[in-house]
């Protein structure tokens, strides 16, 4: 682990002198080494290392409570690291928070908006706090107005907005100063599919057209799969896997066979493991997830193994692996199942 640094976020100067932009890790928009955050005795973030090149969409995937938001809050200077070190846009989050804040845009998980403010007032306030001139602000307002498609609603109190409108306004507020790096903490949680697709389109566009680095936390597998150039999977505060979605899925195998059975699937596991072409088998309740290099070739052997076993097969599915399969292989549980356990509602 790297040198410990003190929780200096609060005691550092409000606007730290620029100081040198650290060049020890050039090209990284976000660089973290052994990042740690304790809450009392609980280690919420445990030795997280990040190397995110400029211009990348990085998906930070994990179930509720895995440490995603805590990591983001540290990288955004809202939370002081207990240990380790993080550089964002080349500046240290603990000792140069003012410089970091000038270069990042953040849309946190819960869009904290003042219901009595209008959309225009919020964007103007954000722009002014980032030191934009009236001319620059007017230009950005016009650009962002098109981006978020709120039209006349921008002049209405935010309290009258739908959830999707609030999300889009929050995204615009994060972008008003044209940041180098944008942190989006679960930007589509609670959105309907249409609004979610729209946010995805905008995220891609920001990255492709404006070259912004995007750090995206999500608990939605398809979101990480669709958007991210690379994905980091976090569980219990630690990154358990990292790579492109394709590489991560490939690590599970070319194909996945899912067998749902009556009774305990673990009883059928030994027989299936012995079937030809099977790379690994995970049993969870009444479900067997079988990784294989060639599903079409292996499925008949799996079916035969199951037929001769102690459980009755309800259905057998062949599909390509998902990030959930990666998560399952690494952590022994489905990410959605874990979310449901964390959030019984």
């Amino acid at each position: 682990m790297s040198t410990l640094i003190s929780a200096a976020g609060s005691s550092a100067p409000e606007i730290a002198r620029p100081g040198p932009r650290l060049t020890v890790h050039p090209g990284y928009a976000v660089y973290a080494e052994g990042l740690v955050r304790h809450f009392g005795g609980r280690r919420a973030v445990d030795e997280v290392d990040l190397r995110i090149p400029a211009g990348e969409i990085y998906g930070f995937l994990g179930p509720n409570g895995a440490g995603k938001s805590t990591t983001v809050r540290m990288l955004c200077t809202l939370l002081a690291p207990t240990g380790g070190r993080a550089l964002v846009a080349g500046y240290d989050v603990a000792t140069q928070p003012g410089q970091v804040r000038l270069r990042i845009g953040v849309a946190l998980q819960d869009a904290a908006l003042d219901p009595r403010q209008t959309g225009i007032e919020l964007l103007r306030l954000q722009g002014r706090l980032y030191g934009l001139s009236n001319r620059a602000l007017a230009r950005r307002m016009a650009e962002l107005g098109d981006l978020i498609e709120l039209g006349d609603a921008l002049g209405r109190p935010i309290g009258t907005y739908s959830g999707g409108m609030k999300r889009r306004l929050d995204l615009a507020a994060a972008l008003v100063h044209n940041p180098e790096i944008v942190f989006l903490d679960e930007p589509t949680t609670g959105l309907d599919p249409a609004s979610r697709a729209r946010v995805w389109t905008e995220i891609r566009r920001l990255n492709q057209q404006l070259g912004m680095t995007i750090f995206l936390t999500t608990q939605y597998l398809e979101e990480a799969d669709e958007l991210a150039h690379r994905v980091g999977i976090i569980d219990h505060g630690s990154i358990v896997a990292e790579g492109t979605p394709a590489d991560l899925k490939r690590s599970v195998g070319a194909d996945v066979i899912v067998a749902r059975v009556d009774g305990d699937a673990a009883a059928a596991r030994p027989a299936v493991e012995a079937a030809p072409g099977v790379r690994s088998v995970e049993a969870h309740g009444s479900e067997l997830v079988i990784a294989t290099g060639d599903g079409a070739a292996a499925i008949s052997g799996v079916a035969v193994a199951l037929a001769g076993g102690a459980v009755a097969v309800r259905d057998l599915t062949l599909r390509t692996p998902t990030l959930d399969d990666v998560f399952l292989e690494l952590t022994g549980t489905h990410i959605e199942r874990k979310n449901a356990q964390e959030d019984p509602s």
Binding site: A7, G9, S10, S11, E14, I15, C76, T77, L78, L79, A80, G98, R101, L102, R103, I104, V106, L108, D110, A112, L113, D114, R116, Q117, E121, L125, Q126, R128, L129, Y130, G131, L132, A136, R139, R140, A142, E143, D146, L147, E149, P157, A173, H177, N178, P179, R198, T201, R205, L206, Q209, L210
Partner: protein, 277 residues
């Protein structure tokens, strides 16, 4: 999504807009502007204090002016106006709104920007001073209708408003301290507990010389006694009573110093807690 909105407008000039530190004054006016714009949308924050002030002004005059009628040249209406003004402006602040910002996470939104942390607090306070000054208007107008004339002239009116506004700011510091310390709206409302001793254990309704023994002693230690003295000197006196005005300013400074120390300590604690939460 329509084709028309499928592209982000990229500046034709190629000029890239980047953030820069805005400067303290800019931060302060931005925060104060937001706080001021919120006032008309939150009439519950300003209407009751004005109503209470006007109500007590009217009722106290009706109740007590006959008792004082035997003192020639003494206008109880003019005497009571200072009390009415303090009833109107004491405790008026955006501290409850700041609590809401803490609770909703809006404060975090502000803390994510390069805004100077002290500007968040001072910006709210600057708005409070403006609001307090505005709240004196209806009371001054009622006083004028009832025949109150300022011995210190038109500038005396301005000084009267200034003293009242500064007092409002000094008292508001306690509200902000509690708001930032607790993040609890009910706790902020508890500043009302300070309101009573400050405004009633003093010469609010009769001159200090008419107070009974223990109350006169207590009033001697109450800064509001000297504030009322300064305010009344502008109305009842002939010209400017500098010593009384100096005492009023000193009283405000004393209360303000205590409340500001408390609220800036609370701000430091809140920012630190936010980074360590």
């Amino acid at each position: 999504m329509t084709a028309a909105t499928d592209t982000i407008a990229i500046p034709a000039s190629g000029e890239v807009i980047r953030a820069r530190p805005a400067g303290f004054g800019h931060d302060l006016t931005s925060i104060a502007g937001r706080a001021l714009r919120a006032v008309p949308r939150d009439p519950a924050a300003v209407v009751p204090p004005v109503f209470i002030a006007l109500f007590f002004f009217t009722v106290n005059i009706a109740t007590l002016s006959k008792l004082t009628g035997r003192h020639p040249g003494f206008s109880y209406t003019a005497f009571e106006m200072a009390t009415a003004i303090l009833l109107g402006v004491t405790g008026v602040s955006r501290a409850p709104a700041l609590v809401l910002d803490v609770q909703t996470g809006y404060l975090d939104r502000l803390l994510l920007t390069p805004v100077r942390r002290t500007a968040i607090l001072i910006g709210h306070m600057a708005a409070d001073v403006a609001v307090a000054a505005a709240l004196t208007a209806p009371i001054l107008i009622l006083g004028a209708i009832l025949g109150v004339r300022f011995g210190a002239g038109p500038l005396g009116v301005a000084a009267f408003v200034l003293l009242a506004s500064l007092w409002s700011l000094a008292f508001a510091g306690f509200g902000y301290a509690i708001a930032l310390k607790t993040g609890n709206p009910a706790a902020v409302n508890s500043t009302f507990l300070l309101f009573f001793p400050f405004l009633f254990l003093t010469s609010s309704y009769v001159p200090r010389g008419q107070l009974s023994g223990w109350l006169s002693t207590v009033a001697g230690f109450n800064p509001v006694t000297y504030l009322l003295g300064g305010l009344r000197s502008l109305v009842l006196g002939n010209g400017w009573q500098w010593s009384q005005l100096a005492q009023a300013l000193a009283a405000i400074a004393l209360v303000g110093m205590i409340s500001m120390i408390m609220c800036f300590a609370a701000l430091r604690g809140r920012v630190k807690r936010s980074s360590q939460a």
